[in-house]
């Protein structure tokens, strides 16, 4: 997308719908619900997107909105505890890339869905979108250190899950 001009709705959809859907799918694990969340995010953009001053923030805005909609749909009212990266003690189990390559995307996604709830969204954004940690933190509404600790913890859990026999059968 050319950053010098204002993108149309169609251009914004074209640029972001795939990543948003994948993020939604990593959160919900259900295609229909992921499609609905993606649709809801763009629906809200169509209604309120003109309030966004910096067009370069469209991506963050969409991901933030989708995540917020997801949380609301889950009626999670309690605030997540703040865990700094220093407190993460999990060791990442060895996971050969060749093992991952034998799996299909749906299996990897299913394993991601088994990771601790708190770690799923940061981990999904880590893998799916090349966003600075600051932006991931803004999207999720938690400090940068918390984002990184959840990613590290989620990676350890995912690596362990991917090495199970069920994953191996793909």
């Amino acid at each position: 997308m050319d950053s010098g001009k204002q993108p149309s709705f169609e251009e914004i959809v074209e640029s972001h719908y795939r990543g948003l859907y994948q993020f939604a799918l990593s959160l919900t694990g259900a295609e229909a619900e992921a499609g609905d969340l993606t649709q809801q995010a763009f629906f809200i953009w169509a209604k309120k997107g003109n309030q966004l001053r910096e067009i370069s923030k469209v991506k963050s805005w969409l991901f933030t909105t989708l995540h917020r909609e997801f949380l609301q749909s889950r009626r999670r009212q309690s605030r997540f505890p703040h865990v700094e990266i220093e407190s993460v003690a999990n060791e990442i189990p060895p996971l050969p890339p060749a093992l991952v390559n034998e799996l299909d995307g749906a299996t990897v996604l299913a394993k991601l869905r088994q990771v601790d709830d708190l770690c799923q969204a940061p981990l999904a954004l880590f893998y799916l979108e090349d966003l600075p940690y600051k932006e991931i933190a803004e999207i999720l509404g938690v400090p940068v250190g918390t984002v990184q600790s959840r990613i590290a913890r989620g990676k350890a859990q995912l690596a362990a899950l991917l090495q199970t026999k069920e994953a191996g059968r793909g």
């Binding site: 204002q6 709705f9 169609e10 959809v13 074209e14 719908y17 795939r18 859907y21 994948q22 799918l25 990593s26 295609e31 499609g35 993606t38 649709q39 763009f42 629906f43 169509a46 209604k47 997107g49 003109n50 990266i85 220093e86 993460v88 990442i92 996971l95 050969p96 890339p97 991952v100 390559n101 799996l103 299909d104 995307g105 749906a106 299996t107 990897v108 996604l109 991601l112 999904a124 880590f126 893998y127 799916l128 090349d130 600075p132 940690y133 940068v144 990184q148 990613i151 590290a152 990676k155 995912l158 690596a159 991917l162």
Partner: protein
């Protein structure tokens, strides 16, 4: 930076993407001098890349994009003025200003007509007076004390009638003074006084213009700061006789 901290950071550091992030500066420096550490990073990056490629290969439903675009057409206002070129915003602003002026003019043109109609409807019904007095000067003082129009001039012929009292009324949030005169045989006569700015489309001269509004005959004129509306319900007495 101790080994524990390095191990934590190496798990989340993304070469290229996080190079400008200050929290990784020490790690990047350490990587330059530590081949073992660099190898650990390379292995981790390869592992992440494998997972990333799998996740990014998950395709959205084939019709999702079309659904998103069609949804937008029926749900969203398709024209976002703030995203249009400045010249177009300026044109739109001029058009909106013009429409606003036209609307204001239309409103102002109708103001006196509505005022006259509503006041005629008022006197056609029973309504109580706020103040009962037979002293025209006293009534004027009361109006003045309340901040209502009070510097009015009552026509000489009307002064000869018996003043019964008056009312403080509001019309569109503006103050209207109402004087009620009583005749011996021809019913009541009412005089409304309002700031001339309230009904700019009212007759601008001091020559009364007579109009029939239902059963009520009115005469209106403007003099000084005020517009006057005289109303009577007795058709047998020419309203001119009260000027």
């Amino acid at each position: 930076m101790d080994n524990q901290k390095i191990r934590e950071l190496i798990e989340v550091y993304r070469p290229g993407l996080d190079d400008q992030d200050e929290q990784f500066a020490e790690l990047i420096a350490a990587l330059r001098n530590d081949p073992t550490l660099q190898r650990q990073l390379d292995e981790r990056v390869a592992r992440d890349l494998a997972v990333r490629n799998k996740l990014r290969a998950v395709a959205p439903p084939a019709d999702l994009k079309a659904r998103l675009l069609s949804e937008q057409k029926v749900s969203a206002f398709p024209f976002n003025l703030t995203r249009q070129p400045r010249w177009l915003q300026a044109v739109a602003a001029v058009i909106l200003l013009g429409l606003a002026i036209l609307w204001l003019r239309a409103t102002r043109q109708d103001a006196f007509l509505e005022f006259r109609t509503e006041m005629a409807q008022l006197v056609a019904t029973e309504f109580p007076l706020d103040t009962h007095t037979n002293n025209l000067a006293a009534l004027q003082q009361i109006f003045s004390a309340k901040g209502w129009p009070a510097s009015y001039v009552v026509p000489p012929a009307l002064r000869k009638l018996h003043i019964e009292g008056g009312c403080l009324r509001e019309w569109r949030g503006k103050k209207v003074a109402l004087l009620c005169f009583e005749t011996k045989t021809n019913g009541d006569v009412w005089l409304f006084v309002v700031d001339r700015q309230v009904t700019p489309d009212a007759p601008t001269t001091a020559d009364p213009q007579v109009t029939q509004t239902g059963n009520i005959t009115t005469a209106s004129w403007t003099s000084g700061a005020y517009t006057y509306l005289l109303a009577t319900e007795n058709p047998t007495v020419p309203i001119h006789s009260y000027f």
